[in-house]
Symmetry: C2
Subunit: 281 residues, 2 copies
Amino acid sequence: MKTFLDCYPCFVRQALEAARMAGADEQGQRRLLGLVMGELREIPLDMTPPEMAGRIHRLVRQELGDGDPYREAKQTSTQQALALYPRLRALVDGSGEPMDRAVRLAIAGNIIDRGMDLDYDLWETVERVLAQPFAVDDGAALRAALSGAQEVLYLADNAGETVFDRVLIETLDVPVRYAVKGGPILNDATLEDAVAAGVDRVAALVSTGSNAPGTILSDCSAAFRRVFDQAELIIAKGQANYETLSEAGPRLFFLLQAKCPVIARDVGAGVPVGSIVLKQG
Amino acid sequence: MKTFLDCYPCFVRQALEAARMAGADEQGQRRLLGLVMGELREIPLDMTPPEMAGRIHRLVRQELGDGDPYREAKQTSTQQALALYPRLRALVDGSGEPMDRAVRLAIAGNIIDRGMDLDYDLWETVERVLAQPFAVDDGAALRAALSGAQEVLYLADNAGETVFDRVLIETLDVPVRYAVKGGPILNDATLEDAVAAGVDRVAALVSTGSNAPGTILSDCSAAFRRVFDQAELIIAKGQANYETLSEAGPRLFFLLQAKCPVIARDVGAGVPVGSIVLKQG
């Protein structure tokens, strides 16, 4: 992406947040920001934002001596989302169009994102996304693809959002493989986070083998790349999966909220920040 | 302030925005970000955010070879605010409490701030601020101080906001000296910007002699420091004036919107971002 300079302030903010979550004092926070800004000065220009984020957060974890600074934040998000689970289920079960509603809920859950500087109420977000028109709506193509599919590969995004994904998976009438990160990166869901959300009860869990945001295939395990290559239908959640796979073809359907101008611009001309997107690759 | 690490992402974002406004290409933008991040690594820990911003933006202007990257943005803001001027006047003239309303309008105008990453509609902001309760309201003390004052020193903040200040100045029944920056810094109002807003018709204009944000007295001219020292009543607009003068005593009344968590926290415990504030020093 040509626009990654827009991501620099976000990386600096993320590093500061991670340092605080790991309990670093002010001097430690400052040292980490210094290292991250040094890295941002040196980093090759041709990296995508998720590749850069992967590299930055490896540095953050290493410098902080904390393999998962977002652990508690992820647990909290999962608990908050699980508390809503009965209401989410009721929304789907009480609907004449359960698929449409479950897709919207999965997109609503995408608001949970520690990579962004967002201030939101989770239930208000649910209500907003249920009522909001799509900025891009390839829902008809998704329904057609689902009706013929033997299996769905579902690329997870963040912890907590996993609970919303679970509701969608429960609504799909087809077996799902749910792909999570191979190790901690930001608040992205790992195997542990998926299990905490109960996704293991409704889908087969698979690790991408990578701990970069999104799905950088060259960074994934050979085993995951085989799963990916053979998948007939792929649901990909969130901005980072869109950033890394938007050119990967029509097997992919991206479900996300456009939470920053860089992504909104890339999704389509005139797409405003805050839009909900269901886009075929 | 102990919390200035929170300001680092903002400085990086400001530098990128300034580079783009000055027409720098991507390579130039990146070079500037590199320099700014280098400066942020070296900068002494005991500087206040406005001092840091002053230093950062001096570097920005120097590197870009543009003495005022925000020139056009300031002109646009002033034009947009002037277009609202008749409606602002009508709001005050039609009110049973013209002073209260003019104070609120001056605070509404404080939304115009290129230092922050804000997405707002100017008229919606006016309507919000007219209806919103104050998070801190020392309005009674301000009215008492005004009733006995011979003159008011009014510390300006941003271009465009100047038009809203003008409406308040027109409503005050006392002569006003309106203090603007000595040179370009962000979108802060200079002499030229105050004249474009017509403030020269309703107040005596005076330069602080400094081109740092806020009012850093040690960086101001000796002439301005005399004006400041002798002032009996000072109205200080915006966050940066609050950051630099919040300890300067009860002659000062701060009118602002709390647009970031660092300021909101400092204004008072539990004061949320988005609050309107009328606070005596």
